[in-house]
């Protein structure tokens, strides 16, 4: 009876493509569930929403399972009422399915681990996402990120020139810091032992992690390079369920390493990047990979154990805990090496409970950070993680995943925890014992002392001296933090706390830089930004967005005016803030 109902073209396509996606693993998971409820308590969404059964893994699974039963399993075809088989008919049905598969599950696989029948919900939830994506039904953020990765070659739409410029910039910073022109970031060098691939987030928001890695490779004496293309080791195909995207991205990376004749691909700290590139990629790309692949966690650990770098753990004395990324720990078994490395570079490591494969999701898994419409749900589910973090009493949470860095930072901010997030690469770089250079000759020593005496006689030059900044933010703490940092480094700061005041202050002060919060009272911040951009007297104004709500980026980026020169997510550290501002204003460290 119900099969005679008209079905929309999109719904028809979803049903048709479902048949093409049924592997033995998926079909097994579709039929094996006995609704025992063992999975229920394992889901962080359920724990944060105890009265809402729609978050239960078995309930979510049934939304997809009913389609399989109705169309591909004989019991459901003949007795749909008996086995609760069902179908999708309208575009609204697909939207409802979207809400479940994208908005109520991060594909963290914790329920799969706790299922006595071996049902792998995450695998068929991912498949369902892929079916919806193929007919254009997806959260807007998923569309934006997927399109960037398909067409620009990386998830964040970082253009090639910006990527190369950032590498060059970080290499110069490193050379200045070490006073060593040999400390370089080589690009497209052939026949290297290591080709290093990164997450585009590192280029856009966290370039310090690139120079920290470069510092480690440098002191390890590694023959290494970074690729000019195919450098993004992340793969949004894992999150969107689009196997074609997964294959295309993996192939670009593999082909580039082969082109450079690299012996090993080292993948920077990123859970889904590691899983996609090392474990899933060869299947999506349908090709063998003729070189080794390893996580940078293993590389760094090896360097320490082989004595290629020396570390001093007393340089990292703040208490730290470790958050296991779901993809690293549950899907790839990478649990012991990060702990071994942490214990070598930190003095006070405290285990989080539960941990390893039983750890809870950071809330940012499965591409959740890009789906701003579900942010309130995500943050509510973060209560589980927040409680876990708080119980450790640590001041720093370390994780080997860029998604987790953002997810944890959001949870920490939302639940007002007194913690910071960092990665192993930062801790290892900080703990590095830098070999002393050969002692200078007597003449050199005299000359150096003369130069030092002259330098010390000069007034100390502050990096932001003679610059004027307008800091626009309605949060008093944030306003005070940003203003203090800029003033400490010599800038003159004028503040504004709403849209109208920002417009007026910038027009009056004509600053070198405006830092702009996206959520302030008064005039719409997007309109303020556009008005300033269109003002011919403010042509040289540089703007850095600093926001705690990435979903508001549309306010700025969809306008037909020049995009902001910089973008930072709150919370911002002093180091990241200064690095970004110096990059925007073109001020090198040695100039300070």
């Amino acid at each position: 009876m119900s099969e005679k109902k008209a079905r929309s073209h999109k719904a028809e396509k979803v049903i048709e493509r479902l048949g093409q996606k049924l592997s033995r693993q998926i079909a097994g998971s579709m039929v094996a569930c006995v609704h025992c409820g063992m999975c229920t308590e394992s889901c962080h969404y359920v724990l944060a929403n105890p009265g809402d059964p729609t978050y239960a893994p078995a309930y979510k699974a049934d939304k997809i399972r009913k389609l399989f039963k109705r169309h591909y399993d004989w019991t459901g075809r003949f007795f749909p009422w008996w086995v609760k088989a069902g179908s999708v008919y309208t575009d609204a049905d697909l939207e409802e399915l979207k809400d479940t598969v994208f908005g109520k599950c991060t594909n963290c696989r914790r329920c799969s681990l706790n299922c006595p029948m071996g049902v792998d919900l995450a695998s068929f939830n991912r498949m369902a996402r892929g079916l919806l994506v193929s007919v254009g039904v997806m959260p807007e953020g998923v569309a934006v990120v997927s399109k960037d990765q398909w067409e620009i070659g990386n998830q964040m739409g970082v253009l090639k020139e910006d990527y190369l410029e950032t590498l060059e910039w970080m290499a110069e910073e490193l050379q200045d810091e070490l006073d060593d022109p040999q400390a370089d970031i080589p690009v497209d060098k052939t026949d290297c032992e290591v080709v290093y691939s990164i997450n585009p987030r590192e280029v856009k928001y966290d370039p310090r992690s690139i120079s920290d890695a470069a510092k480690i490779f440098h002191f390890a004496g590694e023959n290494w390079t970074m690729p000019s293309e195919g450098w993004d080791m992340t793969n949004f195909g894992l999150f969107s369920g689009d196997d074609d995207l997964g294959g295309a991205v993996a192939r670009r990376l593999y082909e580039k390493v082969s082109e450079l004749r690299g012996k090993k691909l080292v993948i920077s700290e990123c859970g889904h990047g590691y899983r996609s590139t090392r474990c899933e990629g060869p299947n999506w790309a349908k090709q063998d990979v003729p070189f080794e692949m390893e996580s940078s966690v293993l590389t760094m650990l090896r360097y320490v154990k082989e004595g290629r770098i020396k570390v001093d753990k007393t340089r990292n004395t703040t208490s730290v805990t470790f958050h296991d990324s779901c993809n690293n720990a549950r899907s790839c078994g990478l649990t012991e090496e990060p702990r071994e490395l942490l214990n070598l570079v930190c003095t006070d490591f405290r285990e989080m409970t539960p941990n390893r494969a039983e750890n809870y999701c950071c809330t940012g898994g499965g591409g959740a950070m890009s789906m701003s419409e579900y942010t309130p749900r995500r943050l509510k589910s973060g209560k589980v993680k927040a409680d876990q973090l708080k119980a450790t009493g640590a001041k720093v949470v370390v994780t080997s995943c860029h998604n987790c860095v953002d997810g944890l930072a959001d949870v920490i901010r939302h639940y007002k925890l007194d913690m910071e997030v960092t990665q192993l690469v930062n801790l290892v770089a900080n703990a590095l014992v830098i070999p002393e250079k050969a002692a200078p000759s007597a003449e050199e020593k005299v000359a150096q002392e003369k130069v030092a005496a002259l330098e010390s006689a000069k007034p100390v030059a502050l990096p932001l001296a003679d610059l004027k900044f307008v800091v626009a933010d309605d949060e008093p703490d944030q306003l005070a933090f940003l203003s203090t940092v800029f003033e400490d480094y010599g800038a003159t700061v004028v503040t504004a706390t709403n849209g109208d005041e920002t417009l007026e202050t910038v027009r009056r002060e004509k600053p070198d830089l405006l830092t702009l919060d996206l959520e302030m009272p008064g005039l719409n911040v997007g309109d303020v930004f556009e008005t300033l951009r269109k003002d011919p007297e403010l042509e040289d104004l540089k703007v850095c967005i600093i926001t705690g709500r990435p979903e508001l980026r549309k306010l700025i980026y969809d306008r037909s005016v020049r995009v902001p020169e910089g973008y930072l997510d709150k919370p911002v550290t002093e180091e990241t803030l200064l690095l970004t501002v110096r990059k925007i204003l073109g001020i090198h460290e040695h100039e300070t």
């Binding site: 990120v145 070659g153 192939r251």
Partner: protein
């Protein structure tokens, strides 16, 4: 070992007085009179190549588009290209996400793009694999329909001298190369 993408040897085919050239390159950076951008109905540049156009071309492109949208599938509009090497961008709305009659709509979109370029006096035009990738047009279908449509168009009366097909990677290059060989 594969060659560097940028050094991938172009493939050329002469069709009457014109040339179809297949290269591995970023379509937004092509040194041509115009290039095709696979647009959205509201003509918002958005992400992907849209990011490249906004950042490299500047804000004038979106500003022009704000006056021209929305458009229907198969339709194209032409804007300036801001600071990019090309003079014009042909914004073409082709079939998306497995919609009905993908093949027919793609053919119409390719032909309309070439016509719009011709009307602007364009002699060298670049196209990406239209609709492949994010918009789910299967790559083999895309290559077949695009090459057939371009071939049909160039066999008629035209002032277009060169059609550059810009593949983003080897995966996109191969099916076009097979059709042009």
């Amino acid at each position: 070992m594969p060659e560097a993408l940028s050094q991938q040897k172009p493939i050329e085919k002469r069709i009457d007085g014109s040339t179809v050239r297949l290269v591995c390159a970023d379509v937004t950076e092509a040194d041509v009179d115009a290039f095709v951008f696979y647009a959205q109905p509201d003509l918002k540049l958005g992400s992907g190549f849209g990011t490249a156009i906004s950042v490299r071309g500047g804000p004038s492109v979106q500003k022009e588009l704000d006056e021209l949208g929305p458009i229907q599938t198969g339709e194209v509009v032409v804007s300036g290209a801001g600071n990019l090497k090309a003079k014009f961008i042909i914004h073409a709305l082709g079939p998306r996400f497995n919609e009905e009659d993908t093949e027919g709509k793609l053919r119409t979109t390719v032909i309309n793009s070439l016509k719009a370029a011709e009307e602007k006096g364009v002699t060298r035009i670049a196209l990406p694999p239209m609709g492949a990738g994010f918009y789910t047009v299967p790559l083999d279908l895309c290559a077949r329909v695009m090459i057939e449509a371009i071939q049909d168009y160039l066999q008629g009366e035209t002032k277009i001298e060169e059609v550059l097909i810009c593949a983003g990677d080897r995966r996109e290059f191969k099916p076009f190369a097979a059709r042009l060989a």
